[in-house]
Amino acid sequence: MTTAVLKNVRALPLVCTNCAEQFDATTSAICDSCLAPLEPLYAKDRRLPSREELRERTRSIWRYGEWLPIEGEPSDSNEVGFTPLFEVPRLAESLGVGRAWIKNDSVSAPSLSFKDRVVAVALNAARALGLDTLGCASTGNLANAVAAQAARAGLPSWIFIPEDLEKGKVVGTSICGANLVRVRGHYDHVNRLCAQVADRFGWGVVNVNLRSYYGEGSKTLAFEIADQLNWRLPDAVVAPMAGGSLVTKLHNGFGEFISAGLVYGNLPRIFGAQAARCSPIVNLLETGESHVTPVIPNTIARSIAIGNPADGVKAARVLEGSGGWGAAVSDREIVTGIRLLASTTGVFTETAGGVTVAATQELVRQGRLGPRDEVVLCITGNGFKTIEAVEKGVGDSPIVNPRLDEVEELVASR
């Protein structure tokens, strides 16, 4: 066992979102009294940095430490975050929006998805709480992020996934030495099992008993977007939804930067994207119901195939309240979306990114986004992890002998 270089890292106290009871920093994400989710309690009078101070700081999620539930020096995963944000005019033109940017978490370090952000925060909370084992229930990307960051920190990890995930996600997890457990059933079965696992063992299960800390990491996507756009907020942001946490935290993140007086412009309209074959949150928006009706997922977008989204109601409210909306797209449109992104920007995203691109197309079709909008697309995962989804679609490339005339013939034929 490695002993960590324990710096002075502390986790914030928590407060119940339902009954307002307060708790010292703890390995539980639910209220003892009412079972409702807890959230970190930030000191209202804490000093916030200026734009100039922020710009002097490290280029990682820890630049925004005052808005994260960890105090003191982070002990691990110090360089997570600060993925590229760049304008993509060819994609904007093809989509029919005014301007478009990609926030490219497909190249997030170390594990190639935005889940690196949430895990970095959860891991530091685990350190602060003195936990010695990490765990998670995952649709794939979280598995990769926990396995990678736990390995580097020298902590053992227990990772639970649906039995039949894409090869890249399985291998990318096992290779880090994680204890990887494949559970018969879909993610909602894995999720339920992990709630019981978290109860039974003293592990830090990042999206179960460390969830109050973990979720806050997603806000850094909003902070970075604002920072990288020179403190000007976009009109709209599109992001994929599984449990519904990311879109909610994006909204909170932008809101916190507005309250801090750091940014120009209004709260962006937030748009959530789902696969039609697993779209419980889009269903909520479209039916106007007040409770999630769970669905059995059956889509190639495995990473966001959650039929029983814990933050579904909150997410639907946030989307609607921001002036945004949601859209669900077919598996075929997802593949087309992956291809469109790659062929106009060079970014190869996984199925969740295909959902985001295709949903943006759908939202333009519905007139909810258009030529007057400046839109940021959150590309949250990497295409090399879900090769299975697109390999058939790309077809065979020609094979030639090493002879120039064969290439001449080929070029002439195109």
Binding site: S138, G185, N191, A195, V208, G215
Partner: protein, 91 residues
Amino acid sequence: MSIKVSLPGVLAKLTDGQNTLDADGSTVAQVVSDLAARYPGLGPRLQNADGEPYEFVTIYLNEEDIRLAGGFEAAVSAGDELTVVPAVAGG
């Protein structure tokens, strides 16, 4: 006594330290009422004042979410298991 009910650890303080209980009823709602009658502290944790389930508490009947089987009205029979878990995030 025919339905087995598993509770999350934080609720055990309301049930004399027991994580699993046996209960009676032919629907989930009846099982919940039976438990509420025997453990008065537990009732309000499983259903709100209108007798409805909470958004942040998920109940499974054997392997499936009860919301896929009629919610509190879902039928249960001897040997079935109900598992109560707090709703948790995606991954």
